[in-house]
């Protein structure tokens, strides 16, 4: 199967690969996986507690090129966003940006799940209610 140029770019030059301190209160960790293809994806965010802006993001993914590209793109996109802005990123946005074929849509879904799981983890650590509106002016 032919990968798009953007997938190849993210795959051969992934952004923000790495790890953050899971135990830090400022860090949210999302670990998600798709058993059938054997993919596992870990996405971490560091959130500024004052502004709720995601100041840094890291990922490590074991999986196909599309899974790696989707998570690499996800870290690029969440950086600089508030957590409520980041929660609006959808798998469809990722599919469009990377021109993923239908059989690879689940990779984009996994990346969105990873973002949501990381934010969920951060909210839990900081006792922010699920679905609660964030008291920061929208940009």
């Amino acid at each position: 199967m032919a990968y798009s140029d953007k997938v190849i770019d993210h795959y051969s030059n992934p952004r923000n690969v790495g790890q953050m301190d899971k135990s830090s209160d400022e860090v949210g960790t999302g670990l998600v996986g798709a058993p059938e293809c054997g993919d596992v994806m870990r996405l971490q965010i560091r959130v500024n507690p004052e502004t709720q802006v995601i100041e840094d993001a890291k990922f490590k993914t074991f999986g196909c090129g599309s899974a790696i590209a989707s998570s690499s793109l996800a870290t690029e996109w969440v950086k600089g966003k508030t957590i409520s802005e980041a929660l609006t990123i959808s798998n469809t946005d990722i599919v469009k940006e990377l021109a993923l074929p239908p059989v690879k849509i689940h990779c984009s879904v996994l990346a969105e799940d990873a973002i949501r799981a990381a934010i969920g983890d951060w909210k839990k650590k900081n006792h922010v209610a699920e679905g609660a509106e964030v008291a920061v002016a929208a940009h």
Binding site: V32, G33, P35, C37, V40, F62, V109, D113, A117
Partner: protein
Amino acid sequence: MNYFEFFSLPLKLHIDVPALEKQFYVLSRKLHPDRFAGKSPVEQEAALAESSLLNDAYRTLKDPIARTQYLLTLEGVQLEEQSKSATDAARATGEQKKQIVPPELLEEVFELNMQLAEMRANKQMGEDEPELRRELMTAKDAFDEKMVQAQEDLEALWTKWDSALEVHDEAAKLSARDGMVVLLNKRSYLRNLVRDVNEALE
């Protein structure tokens, strides 16, 4: 009609496979196209459809994993890998999506993948080949053992399911069902890891 009903079997997971095979051959002969050569097109058509159902049912039920997956779908479990609709719903409602893979399993698979990546990197450096080979062999043995263990665990859950079915214990059925989902996911991951280790060993 589901595959279990087709063979007049209860919805149990422990199956007498030789008996199933015998029944399959008897029915196959009964439905063989030669026996319908002189019959009407409608009867021929019906025999063909029956025969195709027979083949699907037999293929599914004789295989332990396919049989388990089939029963789980009958029990309303969606085994699709990454449900897009559930993610879209989570975004719309702000609720957390329920992940099908438990976090402990993901942690374990993640760690195993880290080790495998390290081994591959070492291999690329071409250093200390014999020692690396040994490490890979050890990893392979460990994964093979986990696969065997997963099979045993699965059969234990079959037993739990079968007895819960007999006494109509819905709670026990549910717990066996959910256990099987976790186990099948684990097995999928293991199978992929075993494949990766084998590739690295080649």
